[in-house]
Amino acid sequence: MQTFLQVLINGTGKGAIFALLALGFVIIFKATEVVNFAHGSLALAGGYVVAVLKPMVGWWSAAAAGITAAAVLALVIERLLLARARNASDTSLAILTIGVDVLVLTEVVRRLGTEASPFLGDPYDVKPLTLGDVTVGRSEVVALAVSVVLITAFFAAFRFSPWGVAMRAQSENREAAALMGIRSSRVTASAWAVGGALAGIAVLFLATQDFSGGGLSQATHGVALAAFPAAIIGGLTSPGGAVLGGFVVGLTEAMTAQYVDLDFAKVAVYLVMLLVLVVRPSGLFGRVVQARV
C-alpha cells in the first residue's frame, strides 16, 4: 500500500510537469495547426537564460527573464519564419520548426560548453516533503500548484477574455474569424508567445534533480518529447485534454515502471496513446473533423 501510494504520487508529480509542457504545445497547435517540434528548444533557450542570469540577479528575476525569453523566442519564430511561410502546408511548417529546433538546440548546447549542467529549481529542488511513509519532491508539488493556477488562469482567459474568444473563433474557423474582423496574426502570435512562456515555465521544473535528475542539457530537450503523447492523448485541440494527457502519461509511466517493468514504462505510454487513438481517433477531447462530399 505504501509502495502504491508512493508510485501514485511519483506519477502525479511527473504528470503535472508533462501537463505544463503539453498545454503549451496544444495552445500553439490550436491557434495555428502547426505541430511545434521546437517546443523542447524553447524550453532549453528559456532555461539557458535563467542559468546565465541566476548568479547575477537571483533566481526570481532570472526565472522571469527566462520565461520572457522563451516567449519572445516563440514570438520571433512565429513572426519571422512561420508568418512568412503562409503558403507552406502544415506539414512543411512542422518540418520548419524541426529546422529551428536544430538551430536553437545546437547553439544552446554549444554555449553550455563543458561546465556542469545548471540546475534551475533553486527554491524547491531536493527539498522533499514527507507525508507519513511516502515522499514527494517539492519540485513536483510546486509544479502541480503552478499548473493548477496557470491552467485555471488560462481557461478563464480562454473563456472570458477577448483574446480567448478570438482564439476560439480562429480555431473553429479561420476564414470566418477573419471575416468577423478578428486579426488572425495577432491571435497566432499571442498563442505562440503563450506557448513559449509555458515552455519557459516548464523548464524551471524540468531541469531539476527532483524531476529529471539532470541539469539543463541536451537531455532536457529529449524529455520535452513526452509532451507529444500527452497532447495527443488529450486531443491536440483541447487544452483541458492536454492537462489530463499529462497526468495519464505520468501515471502510466510510474505504474508500469513499478508493476510491469522499469524498462517498459516509456513504451507503455505510447501503447496507451495508441489504444486511446484506436478508440477515439482524435484523442479524448479532440475535435472530430469529417469530410463532406
Binding site: L93, I95, I98, R110, G222, K266, Y270, G286, V293
Partner: protein, 377 residues
C-alpha cells in the same frame, strides 16, 4: 501516347522534342557520373554516397506514403529496424549459440527482409487506416518506441546492446558489401574495386530499382489511387478505389522500402545493434524525423525530390565533417564552433530556408528552373 493526347499542345510538359532529348541526355549524363565516381572518389566519400543512397531508398518509400497517399508517418525508423533485424536473422548463420539465424542465402535474406517489413507495415494498417494527419504521425511514433524496447528485449534476434551482431556479407553479380575483406581481385582501368567501390555499385543498383519501381507505380494506376485517397477519400471510393486496401497497401510498400533501407543501414554500419537511446541512433525518433525532413525539403510526393532531400539530410551531416576537419586542426574547446556544430547549423538553416522560400521543396525549385525549358517546344 495517343493522337488526342499529343494534340494537347503547349501545355504538355515533356512533350517538347528538345525537352525530351534534354531529359534523356541529362539522365545519361547522370548515369555516366554515377558510374564513374567510384574511380575518382576516395573511400570515405564513397561511404558518404552510399549513405545518401540508403537515405534515398527510405525517403522514396516515405514520399509514396506521405507525399502521394497523404499518410503522415514517423514510424520509418521502426521499419528500418525490422528490415535490418530480419536480414540479420534470415541470413545469419544457423546454429550460432548466441544469435538466432536461419542460415539462408543472403539474397533470400534481403528479399525476405523487404517482405517482412512490408508485412509489418500491413499489420499496422488497421490502426493507420483509422487515423489522420498528425494523429497518425504521433501514433506511428509508438512503433519506434516499441521497436526500441523490442530490440533490447530480444538480444538473440536484434543483437546484444553490448556488442551487436554482424550482418552477413552480401554479394550479387560481383557487387558486394563485406566488412571483413578488402576485395581487390577485380580492377577496372587500374582502379581496384575494393569494398567501398563495390558497395557503391550495389547501392546504386538497389537505389535505381527502388526509384524505377516507384516511378512506374506513381505514374500508373497505383499512383492515381494514392493521390485520390489523399485528396478525397469519399470521391475515391465512389470511383471504385478501395480506400482501406489502398491505405494498407501503400503503408506496406513504404515499409518495404524502409526495410530495404534498414538492410542497407546494417550493411553500411557493418553491425546490427539496437539503439542505446530512443532519440539518437540508427532506428530512432531522430531518424524518423530526418526521413520526414527529406521528403518535405525535397518536395512532398516528388521522387527526384526525395532523392535530393536524402542527399541533403543524410549527406550533409556526414560530408561536412570530412570537409571541415583538416588534418592538423585540434578539436578545440567545448564552446567552439566545431565542425559538427557548423554542420548542424547548416542542416537546420537549410531546412528553414527551403521551406521559407520554396514551400514545395527542391522539386518545386527544379520545376521553376526547368519550367522555361519545358515550355519551349
Amino acid at each position: 501516347m495517343s493522337d488526342s493526347n499529343r494534340a494537347a499542345g503547349d501545355m504538355v510538359p515533356g512533350d517538347g522534342r528538345w525537352w525530351r532529348i534534354g531529359r534523356v541526355a541529362g539522365a545519361a549524363l547522370l548515369i555516366v557520373v554515377l558510374l564513374a565516381l567510384p574511380l575518382y572518389l576516395p573511400g570515405e566519400w564513397l561511404k558518404v554516397g552510399t549513405w545518401m543512397m540508403t537515405g534515398a531508398v527510405g525517403a522514396l518509400g516515405l514520399t509514396l506514403l506521405t507525399g502521394q497517399a497523404g499518410q503522415l508517418s514517423l514510424a520509418h525508423g521502426f521499419f528500418l529496424l525490422v528490415g535490418a533485424v530480419s536480414y540479420a536473422v534470415l541470413s545469419g548463420p544457423a546454429g550460432d549459440p548466441t544469435y538466432i539465424g536461419f542460415g539462408l542465402p543472403p539474397v533470400v535474406g534481403l528479399l525476405g527482409a523487404v517482405l517482412i517489413s512490408g508485412l509489418a507495415g500491413a499489420a499496422f494498417a488497421p490502426v493507420s487506416g483509422r487515423l489522420r494527419g498528425i494523429y497518425l504521425g504521433v501514433a506511428s511514433l509508438a512503433l519506434v518506441f516499441l521497436g526500441f524496447w523490442l530490440g533490447r528485449a530480444l538480444p538473440a534476434v536484434a543483437g546484444s546492446t553490448s556488442s551487436g551482431r554482424l550482418p552477413q556479407p552480401f554479394s550479387i553479380f560481383g557487387l558486394s558489401v563485406d566488412v571483413s575483406r578488402q576485395l581487390s581481385s577485380l580492377s577496372v582501368f587500374g582502379v581496384p574495386l575494393g569494398r567501398d567501390e563495390r558497395t557503391w555499385y550495389l547501392y546504386l543498383l538497389l537505389t535505381a530499382i527502388a526509384y524505377l519501381l516507384a516511378q512506374g507505380a506513381v505514374s500508373g494506376r497505383p499512383g492515381r489511387a494514392w493521390r485520390a485517397v489523399r485528396d478525397n477519400e469519399t470521391a475515391a471510393t465512389v470511383l471504385g478505389v478501395s480506400v482501406v486496401r489502398v491505405k494498407a497497401g501503400v503503408f506496406a510498400i513504404s515499409s518495404a522500402y524502409a526495410g530495404l533501407a534498414g538492410v542497407m543501414t546494417a550493411w553500411w554500419t557493418g553491425i546490427m545493434k539496437p539503439d542505446e537511446s530512443e532519440v539518437a541512433g540508427s532506428y530512432g525518433v531522430t531518424v524518423s524525423i530526418a526521413f520526414l525532413a527529406m521528403i518535405v525539403v525535397g518536395g512532398l510526393g516528388s521522387l527526384p525530390g526525395a532523392v535530393l532531400g536524402a542527399a541533403l539530410v543524410f549527406g550533409l551531416p556526414v560530408a561536412l565533417p570530412l570537409l571541415t576537419q583538416s588534418a592538423s586542426a585540434d578539436i578545440g574547446s567545448g564552446t567552439a564552433f566545431s565542425p559538427i556544430v557548423i554542420t548542424n547549423f547548416a542542416y537546420g538553416a537549410l531546412i528553414v530556408l527551403i521551406i521559407l522560400f520554396e514551400p514545395s521543396g527542391m522539386a518545386g525549385l527544379g520545376r521553376r528552373l526547368l519550367g522555361p525549358a519545358r515550355a519551349r517546344t
